[in-house]
Point group: C2
Chain length 393, copies 2
């Protein structure tokens, strides 16, 4: 009997907005994003708010309630906004996913209703996962509140939670209904969160856009000084590049290449080894420095290029070495090796297929390699260590 | 700042194969489906087998092991094939999902490895869900073993488990890597499972294809007598129509219409009310009869058309009435109503948006309606009841 070949494409579209004062009654943006959704009765909204954001913005829940009341022809609340812990820990606590699904059940939230997540990248990942698997996908609106979430994780198509002590072990690809970046949330970030999201912008600039790199280089001091204009440009440009990459390539990552994971193989492992004491962006900055030092030692980057990259990152305020890089363990052959090296095999395993790592052939141009020399990684670690000793004397 | 509109399409492709003796060493089909996947080393396979299938085919696991050994250049086993309970109950036992994810972790099953599910629609739904959320999607090969799974649920793009006492409350859209329908598995089905899958073929024929309906009508006796040629044609045609519908419309069901759910609003509710004692196809047959009686009472179908539909279904062996249809409960306004009526609101809630139910305007032509008159549903129930009394005296 003839086999049947099934073939189709699924179109996706969503908009990433930039605004201030999103729940200010005079700002209609949040009420307007729903107008084309085909609902002709008020939509049901269920809000999940990052506890860190709620702590810095004690009026937020009241503001949401007033806003929804004001635009009651457009939407209504299904249950009070729920505050949940943010940060990486929320991705390891499966009971939070269950609480959201319980609300979906209790309030009759359907595939034409909305879950609105407000917070950093971690809670948006967790809320997105809960939404994506409920009724095979309740619509998700993301309101990212950190630099990292606004320019990178919050604008993309992935969600995830951690399991078996592995970051992002469970998750799906599920484009959001809309993303609303409100710059006002950046004002209350602590310095570490302000800075850490800049690492993803550095990453895309280094692998793809020398002009963007030059912007970052020129504005390194402004970014360190928390100048908002520089940050807004950086977020918009980084989000644009992130979105272009997704749309232009392999949105649901069915192949092996993941150029946007430049610097990430070591970063994920360092996050885990420090029990997430290193923030994602902080780890990515070190991961970028490590891969650049490696590329220099492998003859791909010049010393001047490596120095330029390191200087700009340090000017912004990144620490480019962490003692965790020196942690050792025995590998399967009972040979002592750096613990971070295991990040390579875990990275390959998460992606599947052949190991594919992006390095730099010059500033602004990534290059995929399929092999990493662990002895050279070790040299790169010592390079960063001795550099850090030198600048800290 | 300018919003960024993100827009892309994700292409999907998979093949549904038809075969016999799938793990016969002389049948290379199963080894060939992997050849274009880009892996250049033996692929990792992890098998999950329906306990009902394993009971009827005690050699199956050994045959799988021999087959994999024989084609060891193509693939290798990651762990022994695992046998899990099939049937609707497996979709309510979350520990089975966790066991599969534990295996994914333990055996290092990645996004370029494969989970192979062998069994009925329920276990394929559950295994598919576990695979879809692991590493954001481990590849899934489905080997459906029932009529229902071979012509309908197993060839499509959905997976699901039950939660909060609601069928398919959790799930995703995740096209399989490949589907292999082995007709030999049908030989060991009990009569109820042989028959029940025919309901989905009747469904697509009635809403879309009068020629297919005429085939079913002409071969009703042959189907009742378990003649394999008639069944093979029925499965191939039904699978083709199901796949065409998915590809031609809204594969991930972002809109409100779900014509393939003809007869299903009542079926899902009856399954739940009988605690899944009614099999899905048996409930769908009753649901179709109910919606056709409703369409007749609403002046959409003629008496002759209704009689023809009922006679063909009865000739195949379907019971078109179940006492559960008479079960009553109080609604939110404390008015007594048929319990099955609540299936309408649960159906709308799962889909979201406006209630959209497919009825028939004639045999071979469905018609969407957005309102159902519950008094007329009650009349349709009594019609089926009295019909069943008449034929059973």
């Amino acid at each position: 009997m003839q086999p049947i070949v099934q073939k189709f494409s699924v179109p996706f579209q969503y908009t990433v907005h930039f605004t201030n004062g999103i729940f200010n009654l005079n700002n209609p943006l949040f009420s307007q994003i729903f107008l084309q959704d085909g609902n002709n009765t008020p939509r049901k909204l269920f809000f999940v708010v990052d506890s860190g954001v709620a702590a810095h913005h004690p009026q937020l829940v009241a503001d949401i309630e007033k806003y929804v009341q004001h635009y009651q022809q457009v939407f209504k609340l299904s249950g009070k906004p729920v505050i949940m812990p943010g940060g990486e820990a929320c991705k390891t606590d499966y009971s939070l996913v269950e609480q959201i699904q319980q609300a979906v059940n209790e309030y009759g939230i359907d595939r034409h209703s909305y879950i609105v997540g407000i917070g950093g990248g971690a809670i948006l990942d967790m809320v997105g996962f809960a939404a994506a698997v409920s009724h095979r996908g309740v619509r998700l609106v993301r309101i990212p509140t950190t630099v990292l979430a606004q320019n990178d994780s919050g604008v993309g198509v992935k969600n995830s939670i951690n399991a078996f002590h592995k970051k992002n072990f469970l998750g799906t690809f599920a484009p959001p209904f809309a993303v609303l970046n409100d710059f006002d949330f950046l004002l209350t970030l602590d310095d570490r969160d302000w800075r850490s999201g800049i690492a993803e912008a550095i990453k895309v600039a280094l692998i793809k856009d020398i002009h963007f790199w030059q912007f970052i280089k020129t504005h390194a001091q402004a970014l360190a000084n928390r100048e908002m204009n520089a940050m807004q440009y950086l977020i918009h440009r980084c989000a644009q590049m992130h979105l272009d990459h997704i749309a232009g390539g392999d949105p649901f990552e069915m192949g092996s290449a993941r150029p946007l994971d430049f610097g990430h193989w070591a970063a994920h492992k360092m996050e885990q080894l420090t029990n997430y004491q290193l923030r994602h962006g902080e780890a990515v900055a070190i991961g970028i420095a490590l891969d650049c030092a490696y590329a220099y030692l492998a003859g791909m980057l010049t010393k001047d290029e490596l120095n330029e990259i390191i200087e700009v990152m340090e000017e912004i305020g990144f620490q480019l070495f962490d003692p965790v890089l020196l942690q050792r363990e025995e590998n399967a052959q009972q040979v002592s090796q750096l613990a971070v090296i295991k990040g390579l095999s875990e990275f390959r395993e998460h992606l599947g297929g052949r190991l594919t790592i992006t390095l730099l052939e010059r500033i602004g141009k990534g290059k995929e390699v399929n092999q990493i020399d662990s002895a050279l990684v070790e040299k790169a670690v010592y390079f960063l260590q001795s550099h850090s000793v030198n600048i800290n004397v």
